[in-house]
């Protein structure tokens, strides 16, 4: 039920408060979604979409940081 899928905003079509909406690309499938709850998200940002609504803008810096940590962890020597 709390499934949320990341997608990339490709257009913003309505900027009016709770009706804020736009098109989001999910790896080739494009859907119109409500973007009100990601008020700072702009075109090319990734958002998590749940039940037709963006619930969070994905923080690109934090995501990159996590991946760097993972790569570092993967290279660490105290492991077989």
């Amino acid at each position: 039920m709390c499934l949320a899928v990341p997608g990339k905003i490709i257009s913003i079509e309505d900027e009016s408060e709770i009706m804020r909406s736009g098109k989001v690309d999910f790896g080739g499938i494009v859907k119109t979604v409500n973007l009100a709850f990601a008020p700072d998200a702009v075109i090319n940002d990734y958002v998590l979409i749940h039940a037709g609504f963006a619930i969070a803008r994905i923080d690109e810096k934090k995501a990159a940081q996590t991946l760097d940590e993972l790569r570092l962890f993967n290279k660490s020597k105290n492991d077989s």
Partner: protein, 365 residues
């Protein structure tokens, strides 16, 4: 797809599995709260990669599973009234009420429409002004902003023929009810990542302080989950109890402030009944006085006549982590996805459905 593929790397998962095996000494019970996490764990086989010292318990984070049978009875009763359309998420349609389910109501001529988003329930309300359109509002904090948004939209567009049958719930009070239980076996919690995008982590911080238990906010991909489990094991082995955010690309400590503001415009916090867990204080949302006209319970004569029936389903033991589905004597026998005794065998996120789909061959061996 970006933000999915990189978190499914088997290389990263294996490295974490190996580190967990090296770190773990004690025997630990770790509960993933969210049903979406339960399914991901089974789908990717993470439970089978872990050391036998770690037992994963499956928490109450499946809204379909915790919706009381009496709400389904009310939804059926509304759907059978002439001129109504009941809109629901697809998962709810086969969940048994006390006597029947929404699918059987549809068989009796009820107009039961499956929707993907609460917004899909507003459209027919606009198009069909002579009909009453009711949305069966289930969900956790992840879904509440969407439900609040459609109530506000109905109000602003002066849509009079729309209402919600409200069964939405809040996770932290239910988690606290489990932690307070003297029989609680939970050593660490993986907090539900998507709920936390909305709520933030303040309430979980309070639970960490009060119950001295590690809580790790965790995402839904295999790398996210195994990282969360590793973070929990590391803390448990060091005797620590901290809040940790392992889903920082989506969660910040304070949560989604605009979503919280919109929820606060539409709902007040109230006590709520959970299937299998009873009534939990402050675990639900009620429409505020100024939006009461959108409450289906005020609009239809659906007085509650029955509380939930007892049957052989051990929903309460499973939701609280006391048993796992394969310990239920009915599992895979009288209770199967085609003939469910309880909601957890129906819902795509129910732990019984997960065991049946991914592990029933093991049980039969």
């Amino acid at each position: 797809m970006k933000y999915i593929d990189e978190y499914r790397s088997s290389e990263f998962v294996n490295r974490y599995v190996s580190r967990i095996r090296k770190t773990v000494r004690g025997k630990w019970n770790i509960m993933e709260v969210c049903g979406g996490q339960t399914h991901a764990i089974f789908k990717f086989g993470l439970d089978q990669l872990l050391s036998s010292n770690i037992t994963l318990l499956h928490g109450p984070g499946c809204p379909v599973c915790v919706t009381p049978a009496s709400i389904i009875d009310q939804a059926i009763s509304i759907s059978l009234k002439p001129g109504t359309m009941l809109c629901t998420f697809g998962d709810m349609i086969r969940v048994p009420g006390n006597d029947a389910d929404l699918l059987s109501a549809r068989g009796q001529g009820a107009d039961v429409k499956i929707v993907y988003s609460p917004l899909d329930a507003i459209e027919p309300a606009k198009r069909l002004p002579d009909r009453e359109i009711v949305f069966l509002a289930i969900g956790f904090e992840t879904t509440v902003p969407a439900i609040a948004s459609v109530v506000l939209t109905a109000d602003r567009l002066k849509i009079k023929n729309f209402s919600i049958l409200n069964a939405i719930v809040r996770i932290p009070p239910a988690v606290e009810a489990l932690l307070k239980d003297p029989e609680c076996r939970i050593d660490a919690l993986l907090a539900p990542g998507h709920v936390c995008t909305i709520t933030g982590l303040r309430e979980y911080k309070s639970l960490v302080n009060k119950y001295q238990i590690p809580i790790i906010a965790t995402g839904f991909e295999p790398v996210d989950l195994i990282q969360g489990i590793f973070a929990a094991v590391e803390q448990l082995e060091r005797g620590k109890a901290n809040l940790s955010n392992r889903y920082s690309r989506a969660i910040n400590f304070y949560g989604n402030k605009y979503a919280q503001y919109i929820i606060g415009q539409v709902f007040d916090i109230t006590d709520r009944e959970w299937r299998g867990l009873g009534t939990i204080a402050n675990s639900g949302y009620n429409l505020k006085e100024e939006y009461k006209q959108y409450d289906a319970k005020n609009r239809f004569d659906i007085a509650l006549t029955k509380s939930d029936n007892e049957n052989k389903c051990i929903v309460s033991d499973i939701l609280s982590g006391r048993s796992n589905p394969s310990q239920c004597p009915e599992f895979g026998k009288t209770c199967r996805p085609g003939h469910p005794l309880g909601p957890m065998m129906v819902s795509s996120e129910g732990s019984c459905a997960a065991y049946y789909k991914y592990r029933s061959n093991d049980a039969r061996r």
